[in-house]
């Protein structure tokens, strides 16, 4: 009934009907679903790749069940594409594109993005890029195997990488993916600036929206040089130019600068949305106002600013001027201050709360607990003197998995379980959710803590068989342990898919506001109709997003749209 009225009121929104509605829609919620499920599909592929190469490392040379024997070239292609897919086709689309698209209009009280057709184009370009990256794995010569950082001359000269077609398609796919996020990013920023509900001032915007928009701004400002570098690399590969060829006046170090100028801000591009999601969840389930809303926003901006000053810490031993390394050590360690401050704020928010450990809350708390490990181990790598030893070891690998896994996987599960009722109108099963939570978190630590130890032992990355190195061969039990934990973790993901499917089919009805939360998305139906609210009843905003447990009120929540 309400839905019919809403659709009627939004005649101008009418898009295509039937099946076309789902593939040719300009509705931000449908586009969010498209991004979400494409991202999940890619995550399954990335996870399968991890399974294959971890099996190879644990049992070198033996055929991997479900794959077969892993050749060195295939191993390189697997690790390269695992990294690329997990960052560019899982973390970015799910955290920024899917939740950005779903949440920004709903949380600021808009009926849609300001450029719905650009939004649709963004997804279509993204889909093409996803298909291309998968195609690149199966072309003649195999997938690109020069690591996700693609340092030339290995990536630029086919005589060196032996994957002429694979590396070019890989590069085109990555470039297209950037174009997709460029289009999406413009949309996010303009929507937040121009389409807020009446009364919503700068400090009434939910933190997650701020974070996604700050992340989009970071992305927009940092991606240009990488696109320039990627074009040059593509020309080197296909047209025979010599931009990175030292024998013809080019410079291979140049690519590293262009890549990491984007590559480091990119870390914060995915981190900030995850932090925003966590802020929404811990305030809701501890029934507390966020400790220092303005501190969080300013710290996020400070992080964004600093993130432009730190990129060369990836190149300490790459042959840059050692004096430059000193500057970047200072800036890199300085960035620990805002990040530490954000963690302190989140922990302080818990003080005095009434903490309900629901599944989304468990995920959000796990994010903080695990991310701290990733954060503190980063200090070792940012300090130039210690990086001489740690650079390109498994310590680096374990460190960034302790940041990226909480961001991309834990953050996503937190957001998904929290907003599932809004997305599908059904509650998820809490028991299955908790089984899945513990079945993911415990094995996760058992995968990467052994890898920290291996890194301390001097084991370098991207080597398909450590039996060739006498000093490393004896640490094999740790590799087997990590692989075993990975398999356990992957098995527990079936619980999640089962839970998702079952709850979607036959879950308990959710109602408008199952978590008793304040932000605007909980004031409309679940799932929200086309246009989000009836056109004559768009929400207005009267206060900030985290007014929980205000003294003198009977309810312990106070939605943003209720007057007085």
């Amino acid at each position: 009934m309400a839905e019919a009225a809403a659709v009627g009121a939004h005649e101008h929104h009418h898009g295509p009907q039937g099946i076309l509605k789902y593939i040719w829609s300009t509705d931000h919620k449908i586009i969010a679903m498209q991004y979400l499920f494409t991202g999940m599909f890619m995550a399954v592929i990335g996870g399968f790749m991890a399974y294959v190469f971890r099996m190879q490392l644990a049992f070198p040379g033996l055929p991997v069940p479900g794959y077969g024997v892993v050749s060195p070239g295939e191993y390189n292609a697997l690790v390269t594409n695992h990294g690329t897919i997990m960052i560019f086709w899982v973390a970015m689309p799910v955290l920024i594109a899917a939740f950005g698209n779903f949440l920004i209009p709903l949380m600021i009280g808009a009926d849609d993005m300001v450029f719905p057709r650009i939004n649709r184009l963004s997804y279509q370009v993204f889909l093409i890029s996803a298909i291309l990256i998968l195609v690149s794995l199966f072309v003649e010569g195999g997938g690109f195997g020069g690591a996700w950082t693609a340092y030339p001359p290995l990536s630029s000269v086919s005589d060196y990488n032996l994957t002429k077609l694979g590396s070019s398609i890989w590069l085109v796919a990555v470039a297209l993916e950037f174009v997709a996020f460029l289009l999406g990013g413009i949309n996010f920023i303009v929507t937040l600036m121009n389409a807020r509900a009446p009364g919503m001032k700068a400090y009434d915007i939910p933190v997650v929206v701020w974070m996604i928009v700050i992340a989009s701004i970071l992305f927009m400002l940092s991606v240009g040089p990488l696109i320039a570098g990627a074009v040059m690399l593509l020309f080197d590969q296909t047209l025979g130019t010599g931009f990175y060829d030292p024998t013809r006046g080019g410079d291979p170090i140049l690519w590293q600068h262009l890549f990491w100028f984007f590559g480091h801000p990119e870390v914060y591009v995915v981190l900030l949305p995850a932090l925003g999601i966590t802020a929404e969840i811990i305030t809701t389930f501890s029934r507390k106002k966020l400790f220092g809303y303005k501190i969080v926003i300013f710290t996020a901006v400070a992080t964004g600013v600093l993130s432009f000053f730190v990129w060369a810490h990836h190149q300490f031993i790459a042959g840059i001027d050692p004096r430059m390394a000193n500057i970047f050590t200072v800036t890199t360690l300085l960035i620990s201050v805002p990040i530490a401050e954000l963690c302190f704020v989140y922990i302080a928010t818990l003080y005095g709360g009434s903490i309900r450990l629901t599944t989304p809350m468990l995920w959000a708390l796990a994010f903080i607990g695990e991310f701290l490990i990733g954060g503190v181990t980063g200090i070792f790598l940012g300090a130039s003197g210690a990086d001489i030893y740690f650079h390109d070891t498994y310590f680096v690998l374990a460190h960034f998995h302790y940041t990226f896994f909480p961001i991309a996987i834990i953050g996503t599960f937190a957001a998904f379980t929290y907003w599932f009722p809004k997305m599908f109108g059904k509650m998820m099963n809490d028991t299955l959710g908790k089984i899945h939570f513990w079945g993911t978190i415990i094995p996760f630590n058992f995968i990467f803590i052994p890898l920290f130890v291996l890194g301390l032992g001097g084991q370098h990355r991207r080597i398909y068989n450590y039996q060739n190195f006498p000093e490393l061969a004896e640490m094999q039990p740790l590799r087997v342990l990590a692989t075993g934990a990975l398999i356990v973790m992957l098995v527990f993901q079936f619980v999640f898919f089962w839970n998702m499917f079952k709850s979607w089919r036959s879950g308990e009805k959710a109602g408008k506001n199952p978590w008793k939360a304040n932000t605007l998305e909980w004031t409309t139906d679940s799932p929200p109709p086309h246009g989000n609210w009836p056109a004559d009843d768009m929400p207005k905003v009267y206060r900030g997003p985290y007014e929980y447990s205000v003294p003198g009120r009977d309810d312990d929540y106070w939605p943003q749209n209720i007057p007085g």
Partner: protein, 223 residues
């Protein structure tokens, strides 16, 4: 900490390990503190019937100090780490002590080629000894290495020396090491360099003085 897993075999290995220990202590303190407070708060303020959450904005000075004091302390710890890191870095990468010997290290797909001075002790003369995948050096001597690459980027990494430096095609990069312990140790390639990256294993053989002299004379004669 690390020396239990990987030997310290060069003059600067101990200082790198010392820096790592310093960071571990400072960072470990903050980590344990944060996690401790975090779990204690979750336990202390779990949902109990009849208890309402407090209303704290965190905007007041008396509240903000709980953030700003740790903030300042983290900054102080950072300063200590920066000073330690730059000191070690300067010693290993910026400062070049006078060499006793020079060697040339060349990375190529997928082997290490080493050029060691012959009996005259000078590099780039006719009696130089060329070896593949095995670098022979003498203990307690300061070495300069000239690092080159013939094709793609490689990285010359000797974990027991705490030494790592990328070899970039088109450049000759100079560095130094000073072995302090005899033995045979792994050289790894630390930068992916193609399908043979996993087999690009070299070894560095550190001899004592008489053994090294006999190795030089044997091999110089053979050439």
């Amino acid at each position: 900490m690390i020396e239990r897993m990987v030997l310290q075999a060069s003059s600067y290995a101990a200082s790198v390990d010392g820096l790592i220990l310093l960071i571990t202590v400072l960072v470990g303190f903050w980590f344990l503190m944060a996690e401790g407070v975090f779990f204690w708060l979750i336990f202390k303020f779990r949902e109990k019937p009849g208890r309402k959450a407090m209303y704290i904005t965190g905007e007041k000075k008396s509240h903000k100090k709980w953030i700003s004091i740790p903030h300042g302390l983290v900054l102080v710890c950072d300063v200590f780490i920066i000073i330690g890191a730059v000191k070690v870095w300067y010693n290993v990468k910026q400062h070049l002590p006078e060499p006793d010997y020079e060697v040339r290290v060349i990375g190529q797909q997928w082997a290490w080629v080493f050029q060691t001075p012959g009996p005259d002790g000078v590099l780039d003369t006719d009696d130089d000894i060329q070896t593949v995948d095995k670098l022979h050096v003498e203990t307690d001597k300061t070495y300069h290495f000239k690092l080159e690459s013939r094709d793609v980027i490689h990285s010359f990494s000797v974990p027991v020396f705490r030494l790592k430096q990328d070899a970039v095609p088109g450049r000759s990069i100079t560095g130094w090491f000073h072995p302090t312990r005899t033995g045979t140790y792994d050289i790894q390639c630390a930068e992916i360099c193609g399908i043979g990256h996993g087999v690009m294993a070299g070894q560095i053989v550190v001899h004592d003085a008489p053994e090294y002299a006999s190795w030089v004379s044997d091999n110089a004669a053979a050439q």
